[in-house]
Every structure is written in C-alpha cells, then in structure tokens.
Amino acid sequence: MSKQLEKPTLVGQFINLRPLTADDAELTLLWRQGPRASLLNRGAQTAEDQRRWIVRRPANEYNFIIETKQHRPIGMLSLSGIDTVNCVAEPGRFLIGDEPASAGLPAAAEAMKLLYELAFDTLKLRRVWGFVASKNRRMIKWQTYLGMTQEGCLRQHLLIDDHPQDAVVFGLLDSEYRSVTLPRLKSLIAAARLPVAPST
C-alpha cells in the first residue's frame, strides 16, 4: 500500500486535497506533459514511470490531488523536503491540470490555503521555500502576491526543453504567512462567493 494513502484528505469549501495514489498515474502524466507544465521540471515519460514515481514517494512527503467537491481531479500539489529539525519544507509540484474545470473556482487559492495550514498550523513549520523557473511569470506573480519574498536566483539551475533557465528562489516565514498570505488567500476564496453582476 502506498504510504500516501495513510495521509489525510484536507477538506476545503470548493476543493479537497486528497492523497495522490498510483491510480492517478495516467492523469497526472497527461497533465505533466501538457503545455501548462512546460516550465516545470522534467518528469516521468510513461505512465509506468509515473506510477513508480508515485508509489516511491517517501512517507515524509505529502502529495495531493486537487479535486472538486464532485471528486473531479483538477490538479496536484505537494509538500516535500520536510525538515523537522529546522522546521522547513518545500511546497511544490503545483499544477492545475484541468483548467476548464477550475475556471471560476478559487481552486489554486484554496489548495494553497489548505497546504499552508498543514505546513504552519499542523506541522508547526517556521518557513517554506521553493523555486520557480524564471520564465514562469504567472507563478512568479502568484508567489509574490501571496507574500513570498524573492531570496535569490539559481543561475541556469533548470534545463527546460534542453535550454538552461534560471530558477527564482522564494521563501515565506510563518509570520508572513499569517500577516500577508492568509488574508489574501481568504480574499481570493471570498471573491468566488460574491454574487456576479447580471450579463449585459
């Protein structure tokens, strides 16, 4: 049995984060090979590789499928590199794979809120960090808007489509999460609850 199955499902208002399983191999491979994943690290190339990668995830990682309340998988998100000595970890592998199903939903916002609650409230971490390909402007805006600080640049750290690319390093402290990230995530989720103007 995959160690991920022992992990909890995190329940939100619009989406849930449920543990990634080997049964998700084909779908997540499809997402990973889609255009939206073009600026992520190179991953598995076959469903079997992806299945093997999933079942080999260590017990100290949290790998989730983002699913709608109707249990439709729409993306993935992880918390890995959990260092219980220094109380740090790395959120990542963040991908909305089914964009049509997530349109109009605060899926990304609620997924990050649930993951950060796991990191800062449940696991009592002090800091999370990660890096983003320098050409992934939408993700850089996202992380910056949500309170992450750009802490540096790893020159040519990534090889994407056979071209070297810088990685922008981001970090977020517990205090910043509570003062900036959480209010903004709550606002984005609240925006989805507001009545919309009638069509003109």
Binding site: L105, W142, A191, A197
Partner: protein, 99 residues
C-alpha cells in the same frame, strides 16, 4: 479623475499579458463583457492574481495611487468587482474617486 476608458485599457493590457502565457484556444477575449471570475467565468484564481497584480501596478503607475482589489472593501461589494471587465473598471474608477 480616473477615466473609465483608460482603466479598461489597463485591464485589457493585463489580459494581454496573461494571454501571452496561455495556449491559443484558452486566450481571454478582450471585451467589456468578458466574465473574469465566478460562475461561468474564464479565469481560475492563478490567472486572476496575474490580472490583479498587473492592474494594481498599472493603476499605481498611471494615477500615483495604490489600490487593493482584494481588500475588505472589494470583498464586501453587492456584486463581485470581478464579474466582468466593465464591473472591474467601474469599481476601480470608484476607488480612485474616493479620498
């Protein structure tokens, strides 16, 4: 005094920036009626943030005023400022007209 047409052009510019990162078939139409966020809308929260960041920055550059599109004021409106391009432009004009 903020000009609504100028604000709409700022929103279009933000949508053009977003479109540069989207596949052709997923690009957002530039129209006053384009629904932005909510039921039957086109943006997910990741793309909405891209638009918010670009619009807030451009408004600050254009008018020398900082606005927040996701503060309590925005989130307590009777209808969502992100309903469509027009409602967002109207909301920004109102915000710039205050104080």
């Amino acid at each position: 005094m903020a000009n609504k047409d100028t604000i709409i052009e700022i929103i279009y510019r933000a949508l053009r920036n977003l479109n540069e990162e989207l596949e052709d078939e997923k690009r957002i139409a530039l129209s006053p009626e384009t629904k932005l966020f909510g039921p039957n809308a086109t943006l997910d929260s990741l793309s909405l943030v891209s638009v918010i960041v670009d619009v807030e920055t451009a408004v600050s550059d254009e008018y020398g005023r900082n606005i927040s599109l996701t503060d309590d004021t925005a989130m307590t409106q009777a209808v969502s400022p992100f309903s469509d391009v027009t409602t967002l432009a109207d909301y920004i004009v109102r915000q710039l007209g205050q104080g």
